[in-house]
Point group: C2
């Protein structure tokens, strides 16, 4: 009898961890296949540092073939799951269809940019979920400062020097914090800007930055951002996005060429197509992370609605910490399903959060101890290095170089805006046709 | 009276050096404007190391605003020169037209991929002049190994594991030498390839690799390449390129998805449009690097046919060494033209060549001393670090990391093939429309 085939859809935090843990547990007792559009696991929390030019893009990737021995990687985007036939269909990087039968299925498709019905957002806002989007933003921001330097039209210059971030969660806060440091440094190298300082706005309908985290972390982030001149406007969002500006909920129009959309995430749309029960787009699972009525189908990470044992009736939030622990548990429970060990329910304990604010600043609350400044910075960077499943030396070296050398301020111009649309089911891929 | 405006077209070796030298000489006595499609000087000799994943792409760029104080950068591609009106027309990165008047003009537009009338080459071959092309190749080669691993079709697998480089000059030789090391390392990480070793072919109609350099350097390169299993076929070229293979001049068909076009360079087409006298597409200049009949127009680098003082009746070859020295001389002669110093004719002496062959190998002949192995490697890397006008620490650190860590083997999938066509007047830019 051949070993059962476990097909894992998606190599984000949850899927990667499932594959990694299962490859250690199984030792040949299961055939593990991982389907993912890219050949790397992306360490998403460091994307803002890619956008600000601190880290090279490959630094935040971990090659799947190198770090998952015994796991077969199939490059492709899953577009259909046939639960009755136990088969997954996908499209490979050259556009050819493929399919895979499974004995156990793990749906860890992750999340994509959250869209809101705001006129013009889909056309003119730039998302921030994948590496192509972060690289587009790095090039775009750099180019805006250069074009501001080149123009003699002061209105145009001001618009190009204005950057608006919508959404003051983890991502938006870090993007604004790193972004303002980067554009300040660029502006100093462009003497024709004549001291005009690039302007960053950070908007959120919530009343404080980092609304989902501890209020003391919000205070730290707010203080650091305002200290750098970021225009932090809470209780404010956008009602319209135009090519040359945004209209705010308070009626004001802000001329800008840069609207960075960090409004949050929604589960990958593949989940909604399954015809199974979902909660806000997430696939409902039981405490063992199996889909009710389908004991061979597991879901985890952002794509799964996992009951939160600490808050009855609620579901675990869409964070990397949960995704990692979901992934490990799914691996254990799959091993149990074919006789290795016994299955367990999902339990968790918050370990705290870490927000890198660029420069020497950060906000962190490891094990409920609130930190700011260099202490938080140390904890944050240490946390990231420990959390990355590979490539740590290169990341640490880039941080070291950034501390001692001037930041590189060039745009490679690799990605046109239409290659990274906001309305994108696969932000990890570059869209090649308009 | 306002100082004369010097407009320099192109920031390759020649144009960059003109701007740099003139900014030191002029000290405000001239207004210096540099027009270039990118905001960086590209250190082209290290592109093969970008394609093989040794160096990050930004490492081989030097930001123009940072390293050329007092020089105004205009981002744009020059599309017309009006010699009578003394005006240059260009298109900016957003597609808008612009124009600049000049008192002195320096044409340093450089070169692009050389095309040959071989059926299918324009459609299926991949060029190697700009950073986008090098990054495309890195992604493409990586993806071919991954797709070879994924397929069970042995014919398809063999084609994907075959890489053909046409042109055994400096670039092609380095691309093949670095490429075979990279794909060997990738293949080791893909156990499903079952020991199938990627195959590299290096073709040239010449009778030896590096035909323009000293025969002892050819011997070194040939020995190293063959030692690594590269199929070196001299006196051979391609007669047809298809999507799935190439036909060689000996009639053999080689199935491959990868034809890398390193046939040489031709001057940027802008030069031919001027209506001035050219030699093989290069703008003819006198020994002072001025255009006959146009004392205010200078040309240098690959775009200029400069009389070779050591070989009467011939012109200096299209090398970086000449371009750098052209650029310096143009700066001196422009300064002389408005009264700083006296103009000088072009004289040069060969300093030798350095070819990096990857791993611990290189071939170099500094001051006519022939070196191979680690000694040549040291000279070659030292030469590059000294020749780069910036970013040396980052390049040295990447080399160090590559020596001690496994090479990163991921493809970011940033560039589709149609974004970097071989038939490209501006290989430094990504073509955004099909």
């Amino acid at each position: 009898m051949s070993p059962p085939r476990v097909v894992i859809v998606g190599a984000g935090f949850a899927g990667y961890q499932t594959a990694r843990t299962l490859s250690r547990l199984a030792r040949g007792a299961a055939e593990i296949v991982l389907i993912n559009p890219t050949d790397y696991f992306l360490y998403v929390p460091l994307l803002p540092e890619v956008a600000a030019g601190v880290l090279e893009p490959r630094r935040v990737t971990v090659a799947l073939p190198d770090t998952l021995p015994g796991v077969r990687l199939v490059l492709g985007e899953v577009n259909a799951v046939d639960l009755n036939a136990r088969r997954v269909r996908y499209v490979d990087p050259e556009g050819n269809p493929g399919e895979l039968d499974y004995n156990r299925l793990v749906l860890a498709a992750g999340s994509v940019n959250k869209l809101l019905p705001i006129p013009g957002a889909t056309e003119h806002a730039h998302g921030f979920r994948g590496l192509p989007e972060a690289l587009f933003l790095r090039d775009h921001v750099t180019r805006q400062i250069e074009l501001a330097d080149a123009t003699d039209d002061l209105v145009d210059r001001a618009a190009r020097c204005t950057f608006v971030v919508v959404g003051a969660g983890y991502t938006g806060t870090e993007v604004a914090a790193h972004g303002v440091l980067y554009t300040d440094e660029l502006a100093r190298r462009h003497p024709r800007l004549d001291g005009e300082r690039p302007r960053w706005l950070l908007l959120d309908i919530a009343q404080r930055v980092l609304p989902e985290l501890d209020p003391r972390m919000s205070e730290t982030a707010d203080r650091v951002l305002r200290g750098r001149g970021v225009d932090v406007r809470m209780g404010t969002s956008v009602t319209e996005v135009r090519k040359d500006g945004v209209v705010l909920t308070d009626g004001q129009t802000v001329p800008t060429r840069s609207l960075i959309w960090c409004v949050g995430v929604r589960p990958d749309p593949i989940v909604a197509d399954l015809g199974l029960k979902t909660v806000k787009g997430r696939l409902l699972v039981d405490e063992y992370l199996t889909v009710p009525g389908h004991p061979d189908v597991f879901a985890c990470g952002d794509a799964a609605a996992v009951p939160d044992s600490t808050r009855p009736g609620e579901f675990t939030p869409m964070t990397a910490q949960h995704a990692v622990r979901h992934g490990k548990l799914v691996a254990y429970n799959i091993a149990a399903s074919y006789g290795q060990g016994t299955r367990r329910p999902y339990r968790h304990r918050e370990l705290g959060f870490a927000v890198d604010l660029g420069g020497k600043d950060a906000a962190a609350n490891p094990f409920d101890v609130n930190l700011s400044g260099p202490a938080a910075k140390l904890v944050t960077r240490g946390y990231h290095l420990l959390s990355m499943p590979g490539n740590r030396v290169r990341v640490a070296v880039d941080w070291l170089l950034d501390a001692v050398l001037p930041r590189q301020g060039v745009q490679l111009g690799l990605l046109p805006a239409h290659a990274v649309p906001l309305d994108n089911d696969a932000p990890e891929l570059v869209r090649t046709a308009r």
